[in-house]
């Protein structure tokens, strides 16, 4: 039964990954990425890694989706802005078949699958992972640490150094983002003037625009973009 669930989740993961690549609307791609994270979280839950599933659902499906939406609110969810069109055209002028990338992907995938052949079977009690420090943690943490959840005692106490490093890495990520984005701020980047101030003045306006509907156009430019979007939708339907 569990293997059925595994297969169903993995199949859905593969379908979602394909959808992320194929879909042209960036908003839909972001949504698919969120779905992908949720499916991974389900997979982690099936594998009894509840803590990891928790993190994946909150960070992967929650916060990173919101961050990508915030980016879309700035750059738009359709590949219609001039700078994007230029890059799209310049890459598409020589129509070539992606044989070399396909080759690289297939070879890398083949090597990875070959690598898994040497791995010990999943869940086997004789695996090296279960015979190194794990038995000590499982048997002794009850009276050494006294915390019922072994994951917590391993993370915070036995592996306290590692967790401190991880916390520092998270902090460093924030410092990196702050340095990157504050040095860009105030400079004339990605045509803020062309988009008009209303576009970026309040976040929620941008978000409604990312949804591509229900927005009373603050400037004629945005209205035109919307119309084009509608026409395309109609054509597809």
């Amino acid at each position: 039964m569990e293997i059925l669930v595994d297969f169903a989740l993995l199949a859905l993961l593969a379908v979602t990954a394909m959808a992320v690549v194929r879909v042209t609307n960036l908003f839909a791609a972001v949504m698919f990425a969120g779905i992908y994270s949720f499916l991974s979280a389900c997979l982690f839950t099936v594998m009894d890694a509840v803590d990891v599933a928790f993190t994946e659902a909150a960070v992967g499906a929650g916060i990173s989706t919101v961050l990508m939406l915030a980016t879309l609110a700035l750059v738009g969810s359709k590949v219609t802005t001039p700078q994007f069109r230029i890059t799209a055209m310049s890459t598409k002028v020589p129509p070539r078949r992606p044989i070399f990338p396909l080759f690289v992907v297939l070879v890398t995938g083949g090597i990875l699958v070959y690598g898994t052949l040497d791995m010990p079977p999943y869940g086997n009690p004789d695996d090296p992972v279960h015979n190194h420090v794990a038995p000590h943690y499982l048997e002794e943490s009850g009276h050494e640490i006294g915390v019922p959840n072994v994951v917590t005692s391993v993370l915070a106490s036995y592996r306290g150094y590692d967790t401190m490093g991880e916390t520092t890495v998270v902090f460093t990520a924030a410092v990196g983002v702050m340095i990157l984005l504050s040095s860009l701020r105030g400079r004339d980047t990605y045509g803020q003037e062309a988009w008009g101030d209303e576009k970026v003045q309040d976040l929620d306006v941008g978000f409604v625009d990312a949804f591509g509907e229900e927005m009373d156009a603050p400037s004629p430019k945005v209205g035109r973009r919307k119309k084009r979007k509608r026409r395309k939708k109609g054509g597809r339907g």
Binding site: F54, A58, I63, L155, T167, V200, D204
Partner: protein, 141 residues
């Protein structure tokens, strides 16, 4: 999005629950799944949800940008500080057993402080990153 009544009312109900749940995940981490990282992320998600519906300006009245930045660094300080206190009490760095008379109590205390440090850093970092993304192109923030 602040003119959408259903979103606004639903958010007002959900956000306190999310924040409370984050604290539950934090302090119940010793017994069930969860811990500082997850709690921090859930707390930040609650704040971010509020900000999506009610706008950045109103959120920053509750939780200014500098508070989030301060939290991000304070958490690391609390974590490392716990280790230093253990050092001063005659143990090894991050050896919580010396924090209290009973080694097991010391471990409990150490894990509590360390997890609080992780939570504060993570929520500060997540909110800071979100603020910086959301405030792109705005001069007033």
């Amino acid at each position: 999005m602040s003119d959408q009544v259903i979103l606004r009312v639903a958010t007002k109900i959900i956000v306190p629950t999310i924040l409370l749940y984050a604290l539950y995940v934090q302090f119940h981490g010793d017994f069930g799944p969860g811990g500082g990282f997850q709690a921090g992320v859930i707390f930040a998600a609650g704040i971010i949800l509020y900000s999506l519906v009610f706008g950045l300006r109103r959120t920053q009245k509750v939780l200014p940008s500098w508070v989030a930045r301060l939290a991000a660094s304070t958490g690391v300080l609390i974590y490392a500080g716990t280790g230093v206190v253990a050092l001063l009490k005659g143990g090894k760095f991050l050896d919580y057993s010396v924090l209290a008379h009973d080694p097991e109590h010391g471990q409990h205390l150490g894990i509590l402080f360390v997890e609080i440090g992780v939570m504060i850093t993570v929520l500060g970092v997540m909110i800071t990153i979100f603020y910086f993304f959301a405030a792109r192109g705005r001069e007033d923030l």
